[in-house]
């Protein structure tokens, strides 16, 4: 019979092998969500092909700096989350909880980048609506408001996930189950980032 300690250490060594982060299920979610967003991307591209003039004119009226700022915010958030996960992983490997305070701080900063993203997006929408530009203006703005709105919904869910991750990372001791939760949640946040980068390119750059 194995003692609880050796069971934990064997579980730990199991986790430190090269492995897929999180668990199968979260990748199932990621694949499903990417499939749906691929449909969105194709719809935007088709609209762009059908109404090239309208899309080009509307695109020119977007504030590029807001889009760039939002991209930078999400990229920084992803970097913070990735380093926080690395810290948690090290903490699980060493079997103690030395550095999780740092990880919690990084999760908190990542939450801040997410909140700033939401604020910046609200500002952008506010400016557009103040200028009389709404989803009813043309197809470009209909796609713009709805698809970035669906993405914003993902950001809000992601913020909830990050708040949960910060709480998990503050536990006295992290076990492999906690690490699985942290890795799965972080994977979702990276998905939110990835989706934005494609939307940013489609709406602001092309």
């Amino acid at each position: 019979m194995t003692s609880p300690d050796s069971a934990v250490s064997s579980a730990v060594s199991e986790r430190t092998k090269p492995h897929v982060p999180g668990e199968l299920g979260i990748w199932c979610f990621v694949a499903g969500d990417l499939a749906v967003f691929t449909v969105f991307f194709v719809l935007i591209a088709l609209g762009n092909g059908d109404q090239a003039q309208v899309f080009a004119q509307s695109r020119a009226s977007l504030e590029l700096w807001i889009g760039v700022l939002n991209t930078l915010l999400l990229l920084s958030g992803s970097w913070l989350v990735a380093t926080a996960v690395e810290r948690c992983r090290e903490s699980v490997q060493s079997g103690s909880g030395p550095d999780t305070r740092g990880a919690a701080l990084q999760f908190a900063l990542a939450i801040l980048t997410g909140v700033l993203f939401v604020a910046n997006k609200s500002l952008e929408w506010g400016i557009k609506i103040a200028h009389g530009i709404t989803p009813a203006t043309n197809d470009f703005f209909m796609y713009f408001f709805v698809f970035t709105g669906i993405h914003l919904f993902h950001v809000l869910i992601g913020l909830g996930v990050l708040i949960a991750l910060r709480r998990v990372s503050r536990r006295e001791r992290l076990d492999s189950k906690a690490l699985r939760t942290i890795e799965s949640g972080a994977t979702f946040w990276h998905l939110v980032d990835l989706l934005w980068i494609v939307l940013f390119a489609l709406f602001y750059l092309i």
């Binding site: 199932c28 979610f29 969500d33 449909v39 989803p135 209909m142 919904f153 869910i157 189950k177």
Partner: protein
């Protein structure tokens, strides 16, 4: 006695009930394909919300027999959601000390069944006397059917959420369903959300005939039924031992 083999501890009655619930989902999807897709003209939608009321009345009147037969299949399909809901809740209940999530699942499942059954009522009613009703009434009944099916986001997303949470919260090896089913439910919950947009658009991809607000939620929902049916049948298998 009571279907329980006291020597082996196996519950044959439970096994049979769960198989009934699991297969109900498969039958519900089959009947929807016959009633809603082949005969009834619900998917792909035979009309789009920006067409004039007279066009609604004319189209329904042209296909009145097919729509009526389709509606019969539809009401059986949607009523079977209740059995699916019971099967999911029963499987969740087996792993609970005191029932909480299984009750929530029953509430959402029962509400969802009522909403879905009303879709079939609305579909049947529009084909009852399409030439005598004012065309605007026919139009409204079709609108009503799609609003029941698509605008009911919190009912169906909430159902998925209360299925996912007990799986995610469970200790290792005590999950009522495989963990990936939890993530599948979360995915489905997100995909129903675009259905809310049908209130704001009368044409295009976000209207009740569009790809984002109609096709994505419907595809996710019927895929979800098949996955949950599989989950129930698998749970039944484990109960059999």
């Amino acid at each position: 006695m009571n279907g329980i083999d006291t020597h082996s501890g196996k519950d044959h009655l439970f096994y049979r009930s769960m198989r009934f619930c699991g297969w109900s989902g498969v039958v519900a999807v089959t009947f929807f394909i016959i009633g809603g897709m082949i005969l009834g003209g619900m998917l792909p939608p035979m009309l789009s919300p920006d067409e004039p009321a007279a066009e609604f009345a004319r189209r329904v009147s042209d296909h009145v027999v097919a729509i009526r037969i389709g509606s019969v299949f539809l009401i059986f399909s949607f009523a079977l959601f209740g059995a699916l809901a019971a099967g999911i809740a029963a499987q969740t209940r087996r792993f609970e000390k005191a029932p909480a999530f299984s009750y929530l699942q029953l509430m959402f499942g029962a509400s969802g069944t009522v909403v879905a059954v009303l879709v079939a009522f609305s579909w049947a009613l529009m084909s009852f006397r399409p030439d005598e009703y004012d065309p605007a009434v026919v139009q409204m009944l079709i609108d009503f059917a799609y609003f029941l099916a698509l605008f009911s986001v919190p009912v169906f997303s909430g159902w998925c959420l209360v299925i996912a949470l007990p799986i995610l919260f469970a200790n290792e090896g005590e999950e009522p369903f495989p963990r990936w089913i939890a993530f599948f439910n979360l995915w489905a919950a997100v995909l129903y959300a675009p259905g809310l947009m049908i209130l704001f658009f009368k044409s295009g991809i976000f209207s009740w005939s569009g790809i984002v607000a109609l096709w994505i939620p419907f595809t996710a929902f019927f895929l979800w039924i098949l996955v949950m049916s599989w989950g129930i049948l698998k749970g039944a298998g484990s109960a059999r031992g």
